[in-house]
């Protein structure tokens, strides 16, 4: 059988990769993709803990569903912002959006 | 009566035991065999369906249809397949090779995966999944991905336009599709298709009687999901040549076509399972094999309606397509989805009130429930039609007050 550690290490790897994407990418859509990777890593952990610790406690499932809802909302608003930004400034690079920076 | 397929499986397992295969390995081999049998059956039905569709379309349009190859042109699909396979397989130089080659496979696989959960009879099914209905909805999203990949990777403006149209249409029509799928789930209290079929034992128990509007919504939105006439905007020949598969030729084009034909028949099968009782029918308890006949009969009846629509209706305009979805189908589906559980809940105990009358209370409850649900559906449907009629009348009046000039006008000057 698969030990819990495999899932946890894999989720940690996905989280780290997502974090790298968020910190290092220029394109805002790529940053959103990094956030999705991190959220997915969290979901793997939630479901793995549900399965390995106590199946009768449904909290892991419920929170994973909440994460789905949050991810969907985040992407909807995020992509709307990106498209709106592109219409005004003709760019989707995060470091070129610096009007509020001084 | 021994079921022939189960007997065949047992015989194969005993054969494997004789040559000393470990049971785990032989089980896996048996599963693989089952998968290939189901996939082959679906594809063979599709090949037959191309002939059937051409024949029926010809009959509806007062033609004869294929009649040269074999008796009644029955071997025409095989000749077509050979033609497809021997054609040159072209790839545009600027195409994205990997995505371009994966897209047609994904288009076929997304449909084939649905057949994994379809019960042909009470004992013949790929797998029993307790989230089967949701699984069907999920697998459909691979089809959207396939269309998008094909359109983007072809590096062709028409293909990209087709892909954009596809995304706007398929994603929009997924909403009423999911919502209407939920009605049989609510009525059967299960997402398992086998359970949904089992709950529809007699004619009155068929969900098409209790929820005709949901069946209609499901049918319309799944025809749109396939992208068939009148919803074939994503490959409209007269506007964007062939849409997302303009650059495909030979075998890959054939895969897109096979995927579309198979998807159409799959809709027939799903409608039969979810609303028409699938393999249920008279005498099916004694002879489970009869279920296959009923299931196929119902599926082909629904499939015939899609063919009928295809050869009768013109393609609808793109704004009409979106308006139909967001202004009619989605609101109606939402209202229906809210009313169905309410009516179901309040008619649950209705049978007890009438238990003084002859007949068993249980049956009465079911009949009353069905009657109440049918009434709800009719009220919602007629109400929706009434609202549409009033709105369109108002719009027509408004248009008559400010008549559009029927001449081409130059576009407005830019304010620059």
């Amino acid at each position: 059988m698969i030990p819990l550690s495999w899932y946890l290490v894999w989720a940690a790897a996905l989280f780290a990769v997502g974090l790298f994407g968020v910190l290092a990418r220029k394109n805002i859509i790529a940053i959103l993709m990094g956030v999705e990777l991190m959220l997915n890593a969290v979901n793997i952990n939630l479901v793995a803990f549900w399965r390995y610790l106590d199946v009768r406690d449904i909290t892991g499932h419920a929170f994973a569903l909440m994460v789905f809802a949050v991810a969907a909302a985040e992407v909807a608003v995020g992509l709307a912002l990106v498209i709106s930004l592109y219409r005004r400034r003709q760019t989707v690079a995060a470091d070129e959006v610096d009007l509020l920076k001084w | 009566m021994m079921d022939p397929l189960v007997a065949l499986g047992d015989w194969l397992l005993s054969l494997a035991a004789k040559i000393n295969l470990p049971p785990a390995v032989s089980q896996v081999i048996l599963y693989l065999l089952g998968v290939s049998v189901i996939a082959t059956v679906a594809l063979v039905i599709t090949i037959f369906n191309t002939w059937l569709e051409r024949k029926i379309a010809a009959r509806l349009q007062d033609r004869i249809g294929p009649n040269r190859v074999g008796p009644w042109g029955l071997l025409q699909p095989i000749a077509d397949a050979i033609k497809m396979l021997t054609k040159e397989d072209t790839t545009p130089a600027a195409a994205d090779k990997v995505a371009y080659n994966i897209a047609p496979i994904l288009a076929v696989v997304s449909v084939l995966l649905i057949w994994a959960v379809i019960p042909f009879t009470s004992v013949w099914y790929g797998t029993k999944l307790n989230v089967a209905v949701l699984y069907i909805a999920a697998v459909g999203s691979f089809g959207v991905l396939a269309v998008l990949m094909a359109g983007w990777s072809s590096n062709n403006k028409y293909a990209l336009l087709g892909a954009f149209r596809a995304v706007s249409q398929l994603i929009s029509y997924e909403v009423p599709l999911f919502l209407s799928l939920l009605v049989p789930v609510l009525l059967a209290r299960s997402m398992d298709i086998s359970v949904i079929v089992e709950k529809q034992g007699s004619f009155l128990e068929m969900f098409v009687v209790a929820a005709p509007l949901a069946a209609l919504l499901f049918f319309i939105s799944s025809v749109a999901e396939v992208g068939r006439t009148p919803f074939d905007l994503l490959e409209a020949e007269s506007e964007i040549v062939a849409g997302y598969h303009i650059e495909y030729s030979g075998f890959k084009f054939g895969m897109f076509q096979a995927g579309e034909f198979m998807h159409t028949f799959t809709i027939g099968a799903l409608t039969a399972l979810l609303f028409l009782g699938g393999w249920q029918g008279p005498l099916v308890d004694q002879y489970p094999i009869l279920g296959l006949v009923y299931f196929m009969g119902k599926s082909f009846a629904v499939y015939f309606v899609t063919m009928w629509m295809r050869s009768t209706l013109p393609r609808i305009r793109i704004d009409h397509m979106q308006a139909l979805n967001w202004k009619i189908l989605v609101p109606v589906a939402l209202v229906l989805l809210m009313l169905t559980p309410l009516v179901d809940y309040f008619t649950k105990d209705l049978g007890v009130l009438f238990s003084a009358f002859p007949g068993s209370p249980g049956e009465l409850t079911l009949t009353w429930r069905t009657a109440a649900l049918l009434l709800t559906n009719l009220v919602v449907g007629i109400g929706a039609l009434d609202i549409i009629r009033r709105t369109s009348k108002r719009n027509t009046k408004a248009r008559q007050r400010f008549p559009e000039r029927a001449v081409a006008r130059p576009p407005k000057e830019e304010a620059a």
Binding site: M1, I2, L4, A62 | N130, L134, I171
Partner: protein, 173 residues
């Protein structure tokens, strides 16, 4: 090495490689397609964890909606930053790599000290999980509040997204 373990290793390696591709590809459509691959790997993990409902929801929500929206947004915003020209990373790339490695090793080291780190899944009947989840989401002592908040969040996101991208006449001059 059981078949389950083989499937897990294949899935984990494939989806982690795909995730690395997501954050390093210059071509954004490729990145989005690799994202689909990663998300599908997570769905497979849910199946291995005996949570078929979540696996299917993962495919519906992530592949069916989020990934498609991503590809769509990439196509609508084609510009210098995606394809050939320009570097995909900003100036912080070394620091970002360092912190990612740091977070990964921190997580693994911390979890490695935990007693149940390499626990084996207890034998349990998980077939009732979907019904249990449904009841928990609608029960007053369950997650009904979270459920309602999530639905309000989605409604707000829907309205907000439409408002943000609504074309305004004044912008065009």
């Amino acid at each position: 090495m059981t078949p389950m373990q083989l499937i897990f290793i294949f899935t984990a390696v494939a989806s982690t490689v795909a995730a690395i591709m997501v954050v390093t590809r210059r071509n954004m459509v490729h990145a989005a397609l690799f994202l689909v691959m990663t998300l599908f790997g997570v769905a497979v993990a849910f199946v291995l964890l005996e949570a078929p409902f979540l696996a299917v929801v993962q495919v519906v929500v992530y592949i069916g909606a989020i990934a498609i929206l991503m590809i769509f947004a990439v196509m609508l915003t084609r510009n210098v930053t995606d394809d050939e020209s320009g570097h995909p990373f900003n100036a912080n790339v070394r620091l970002a790599l360092l912190s990612a490695v740091f977070v990964f090793s921190l997580l693994v080291v911390t979890l490695g000290g935990w007693a149940q780190f390499s626990a084996i899944a207890p034998f349990a009947n998980t077939s009732g999980a979907v019904a249990q989840l449904g009841e928990a989401l609608a029960a007053a002592d369950g997650y009904v509040l979270a459920f309602e908040v999530a639905s309000m969040l989605l409604l707000g996101a829907l309205v907000g997204a439409i408002f943000v991208v609504w074309p305004r006449q004044a912008e065009n001059d």
